[in-house]
């Protein structure tokens, strides 16, 4: 009980570093997100069910021949990932806001960009897991082989760019009353360059285009990833502070 321990045993609390190690803080945030999601499965199940519903709806809506299906695959896939991604990003930040946990994170003596990178990595992990499940389902429904190393690389690069800017904007929108509707309105215009490059590169791999033709959108994806991560690294502190 409370009065049983009136004095703490350890008089001095040792810290491994005065202001916190960046990597350890990032790891702690990822560990916390994965652990909490493993229990609740709220974010993951919402994203997965929503993704599967979208590809099913497209499957019924586009009763096309196999050749045409291949040509729309990239668009359908990225529309699915983008819509499902907003659900995950919203939920991921809403968890931080609901019990004031975002303040708890911001009170830690670490560089606040470590919080951003922690949230970004866990959001990316959840998005990639959903994509790994969606791809074989899509392959079966649309009779398209999606398991090509080049396409998987594009999905990874596109997801990084999407989550990089999405995590930053989710941190911004979660502080407003209209957070659920504000995130897609803010996110989609900003993420269009990533989606366009990802669709172009994905189409290239699916249609068996020359590598030289696909290299440009892939390079663009890499450039967008670097730019979005760098911008988020620089502005995250200002976004979360009043």
């Amino acid at each position: 009980m409370v009065n049983k321990a009136t004095e703490l045993k350890s008089m001095t609390i040792e810290r491994t570093r005065p202001a916190g190690s960046f990597i350890k803080a990032v790891t702690a945030v990822v560990w916390k997100d994965v652990r909490a999601e493993f229990r609740s499965r709220e974010l993951f199940s919402a994203m997965l069910v929503f993704s599967l519903l979208i590809i099913l709806i497209f499957n019924f809506a586009l009763e096309l021949d196999i050749k045409t299906r291949q040509s729309v695959t990239a668009g359908v896939l990225w529309a699915t990932f983008a819509f499902a991604g907003t659900l995950g990003l919203n939920r991921s930040m809403a968890i931080e806001k609901d019990r004031g946990c975002l303040d708890g994170l911001l009170l830690a003596p670490v560089d606040r960009s470590a919080i951003y990178f922690g949230k970004m990595i866990s959001n990316l992990a959840f998005m990639l897991i959903v994509e790994i499940i969606v791809l074989p389902v899509y392959s079966v429904l649309y009779s398209v082989n999606l398991f090509q190393p080049g396409l998987l690389l594009v999905i990874l690069l596109g997801s990084i760019g999407y989550v990089a800017v999405g995590t930053l904007l989710a941190a911004m929108s979660v502080q407003t009353r209209t957070r659920d509707i504000l995130l897609p309105i803010l996110l989609f215009p900003v993420v269009i360059p990533v989606l366009l490059a990802a669709v172009k590169a994905s189409s290239g791999f699916l249609s068996g285009a020359e590598l030289a033709e696909i290299l440009l959108p892939i390079n663009l994806l890499i450039a967008y990833d670097v730019i979005f991560i760098a911008v988020a690294f620089m502005v995250f502190d200002s976004v979360v502070e009043e």
Binding site: L8, R99, C101
Partner: protein
């Protein structure tokens, strides 16, 4: 330990704090009282480095805000009316997470000490979402003192607690203060503030309008002092 000079905070056109001056000595327990909308929470959020001052100086434990915010945060514990805890993690997982964020060594031993202090050692493996409001608030205090801070800020810690939970929280607060920590607490509960604090400051219309120590208050009671300060 805490020095605030001519602190101004503005949100757009609305000025919430209009030049707050405050000095808190090491080991003091200051109750910051005032009506709703007086700016108490805004003031505490600035001390906690969660909000930037528009103008003025804030110095905590020898470090300036906002420039040395990271050093200040390492010496600061904050308890608000929200628990700042994850419902899908257990009590010990919450403390382990925050301990890692603060870079603590001997974390497992420290977690056990803190859980014992707040009387939750038997519930350490239970999910926080299954806790009552009072238990969550006690764990929130454990989280705030996990890194043994020099300064602890309490923002309306009794909000939503019943009498039993409030009495239990009193004991935890006394334990926290008994370690010689500097404490600043905002509250509407004058009786509890009178019981716990060593000094009483009234924040009204964005400034500290009156201040009195426990000794000075012996001649009158806190309620009369509070009413006089607001009337003046």
């Amino acid at each position: 330990m805490i020095t605030v000079k001519k602190l101004v905070k503005r949100f757009g056109l609305k000025i919430v704090l209009r030049g707050v001056d405050l000095e808190v000595q090491p080991g003091e327990f200051v109750a910051l009282l005032g009506p709703n909308g007086a700016g108490k929470t805004t003031f505490l959020r600035i001390l906690a480095s969660l909000s930037r001052p528009t103008l003025g100086e804030v110095n905590i434990a020898g470090y300036q805000l906002p420039n040395q915010a990271s050093q200040v945060r390492a010496r600061l514990g904050v308890v608000s009316h929200l628990p700042l805890l994850y419902g899908d993690l257990t009590a010990e997982e919450n403390l382990r997470f925050y301990g890692r964020m603060y870079g603590l060594t001997d974390l497992e031993q420290r977690i056990s000490e803190v859980l014992e202090m707040v009387g939750l050692e038997t519930r350490r493996r239970d999910l926080v979402r299954t806790f009552s409001r009072g238990m969550q608030q006690r764990l929130a205090i454990g989280r705030a003192v996990l890194h043994d801070p020099d300064v602890v800020l309490f923002d309306e810690p009794y909000t939503g607690l019943d009498q039993d939970a409030s009495s239990m929280l009193d004991e935890v607060l006394k334990t926290v203060a008994a370690k010689g920590r500097t404490v600043v607490m905002t509250s509407h509960d004058l009786a509890r503030a009178e019981d716990l604090a060593t000094r009483f400051d009234i924040l009204s219309r964005g400034v500290i309008s009156a201040s009195a120590s426990r000794k000075e208050l012996r001649k009158t009671n806190l309620l009369s002092f509070y009413k006089q300060a607001l009337a003046g």
